[in-house]
């Protein structure tokens, strides 16, 4: 059963009378537990597709159906709530809150969900242990390496118990060793918690790990290969 169903999705940017078709009539389906990479050259529409999938950027036309619900039919308030409870985001530049510790960054999203303090504390510990930085729970982002910050970002994304995680170029700022570690952590979590991971990436190491690789060219699906 598919978790995400994308139908005829199109995004056209209209700047100063010049129309740019970023995503052109794409149809895709993602199953639960997939570990998929969306690849393609710069400007091929990877991030735009991911943003529309994550309820951040509205499509010009088409549908993003998640659990039988076209998310772009939801009101702004409901869509925000939908993101909070169903989607985890991992971004290229980590985007942790600098004034909060690794633990607080992870816990924050659960607080937005209104979870109890004990549940928040337990899950935070569990997740930070799972991403291998359980000993850095009290460290602020500026005291962590890039790889460690991205691991906190993964823990934060998982904290809300989302249906799927969208990771936009998650390894772009990491060295080889950190990339390897992060990919192994995400692959393990994908397998153990059966969470769907969808990456947009240029990184060959991510493509290698991914069990499905979707290649976009000029906003269209050029190939869709399941290993």
């Amino acid at each position: 059963m598919s978790v995400i169903n994308i139908k005829n999705l199109t995004k056209i940017y209209d700047g100063s009378g010049l129309e740019v078709v970023a995503v052109n009539n794409i149809d895709l389906e993602f199953e639960k537990g997939e570990f998929a990479a969306i690849v393609g050259p710069s400007g091929s529409g990877k991030t735009t597709l991911l943003n529309m999938l994550g309820g951040l950027d509205s499509p010009t036309s088409g549908e993003v159906i998640i659990d039988s619900q076209n998310i772009w039919e939801l009101s702004s308030r409901k869509l925000t709530n939908f993101r909070l409870n169903n989607i985890g985001f991992v971004l290229q530049s980590y985007n942790l809150i600098p004034v909060l510790t690794a633990g607080e960054n992870t816990e924050f999203i659960m607080q937005l969900q209104g979870r109890s303090k004990s549940e928040r504390k337990n899950r935070t510990k569990e997740l930070l242990d799972a991403v291998g930085i359980g000993d850095r729970v009290r460290s602020r982002p500026n005291k962590l390496s890039g790889g460690q910050q991205q691991r906190v970002a993964v823990a934060r994304a998982l904290a809300s118990k989302p249906k799927f995680i969208l990771a936009d170029e998650p390894t772009a700022n990491l060295d080889s060793k950190s990339t390897e570690t992060l990919l192994n952590i995400m692959e393990t979590l994908n397998k153990t918690e059966n969470i769907t991971f969808i990456f947009s990436t240029h990184d060959a190491r991510v493509m290698k790990k991914a069990r499905r690789v979707i290649t976009l060219v000029d906003g269209k699906v050029d190939s869709d290969v399941t290993k």
Partner: protein, 405 residues
């Protein structure tokens, strides 16, 4: 955690936040000090006017207010003052004869208010006896002693033991006069009062005018606490319904008006300070919101509601403003407290101040509730200052904000 994030965010850029807090702090310190200074000045003026000039309550014959003629006296004044003495919270009662007349020296003449008093009685009501700067208070001159103000003495070019002539109408409306010798010269902070008020003994005036013994135009009453004047005057009105009984606010409405206007001006002054600071706070918070555009975009992306983002920026601005505000209130309160007992000396501008009736040694005074009002005003400023930056944050498109490198 929103509170925690907002508070931590205040201290994210310590230098910038400190500059804003210092500006708010100094602005409020100045505002509170100026409020305390002007309130103290006005309170002193009122206290001084009550203790030296008008007293707390005055009783007259109703006709006396219309025409301050000699004949409009109260023949039962001793009986009235005896009864008032027995009331609670009465510090003193003095029967006075009031005559507006001419006083002349060998050099010149001028119009003055002659107040005939019993010096012992008057000591309980006014502090003129303690304001003597030359000679003595009705001592050292056996016949027709007079106490005049320093400014009047300078005007008449007279000194202690000089003779002056008081010209007035007697009970038969004939012009009469008497020679008086200066026993003492007083000086109050109000040169206008000093220039126009002369004190003589009632007994001398009674003899000169032919008024009956015990007659008085005015019964001046000093109460222990000025605020009690407003309840005591009601009691006296009931006791003597045929007399005109006035409290100090009725005698001198400008005093009461001055207090109200000063309170109003003090708040206006603080509002102007806060209004100027408002733009500084808005500017700072706009910079903050712009700098954190990507972070705010991320918060919106992960599912933080726009209302919570709005609230977070609002809270951060209020905390920033309130921190500076509390420092300012504390500093202002400490300075005001210090000058409550250590006078600010304005004697270099003594002439100007004393013409207006103000003392040149000013003790600050501020009501505790003023601090609460000021703190509320600071919070309001913070809220107003936060609206636009918070609105800007609210309008961020998360997808667009996350694209920023």
């Amino acid at each position: 955690m929103i509170w925690s994030i907002s508070w931590k965010n205040v201290w994210r850029n310590k230098v910038r936040s400190s500059v804003v807090m210092t500006a708010i702090g100094l602005g409020l310190t100045a505002g509170i000090f100026s409020s305390a200074f002007f309130t103290g000045m006005v309170n002193q003026r009122i206290k001084q006017a009550i203790s030296n000039e008008i007293s707390s309550i005055q009783i007259h014959d109703p006709k006396f207010k219309e025409t301050t003629e000699l004949v409009n006296f109260m023949s039962d004044a001793p009986d009235i003052s005896d009864k008032i003495q027995k009331l609670d919270n009465i510090a003193g009662v003095s029967n006075r004869i009031i005559i507006y007349s001419m006083v002349s020296s060998a050099e010149t003449a001028t119009g003055v208010k002659i107040t005939g008093i019993d010096p012992n009685q008057e000591n309980q009501v006014t502090g003129i006896n303690s304001k003597i700067v030359d000679g003595k208070y009705f001592e050292g001159v056996s016949r027709n002693p007079v106490v005049i103000g320093k400014k009047l003495a300078e005007k008449l070019k007279v000194k202690v033991r000089s003779k002056i002539v008081i010209t007035l109408q007697d009970m038969d409306k004939n012009i009469t006069g008497g020679a008086f010798r200066i026993a003492g010269i007083y000086e109050t902070p109000n040169t206008g009062f000093d220039e126009s008020n002369v004190f003589v003994r009632s007994s001398d005036l009674l003899q000169l005018t032919g008024m009956p013994p015990g007659a008085a135009h005015e019964i001046a009453i000093l109460v222990n606490d000025n605020e009690e004047a407003f309840s005591i005057d009601q009691k006296i009105k009931k006791m003597f319904p045929d007399k005109e009984v006035l409290n100090w606010k009725e005698i001198s409405p400008e005093m009461s008006y001055m207090t109200e206007v000063m309170g109003f001006y003090n708040y206006i002054f603080i509002i102007i300070i806060l209004f100027a600071l408002l733009f500084g706070i808005i500017n700072t918070m706009l910079m903050v919101v712009l700098e954190r555009r990507k972070e705010i975009g991320m918060l919106l992306a992960i599912g933080m509601s726009r209302l919570k983002v709005f609230g977070m920026v609002m809270l951060e601005t209020v905390l920033l403003s309130l921190s500076g505000g509390l420092v300012g209130i504390l500093l202002g309160a400490l300075i005001a407290k210090h000058f409550e007992t250590n006078a600010i000396d304005l004697s270099m501008w003594a002439e100007g101040y004393s013409q207006l009736g103000y003392d040149t040694l000013v003790y600050t005074s501020i009501e505790p509730e003023q601090y609460v009002v000021i703190a509320v005003m600071v919070i309001m400023t913070g809220i107003i200052a936060a609206i636009y930056p918070a609105y800007k944050a609210l309008k961020y498109d998360p997808a667009e904000a996350l694209r920023i490198e």
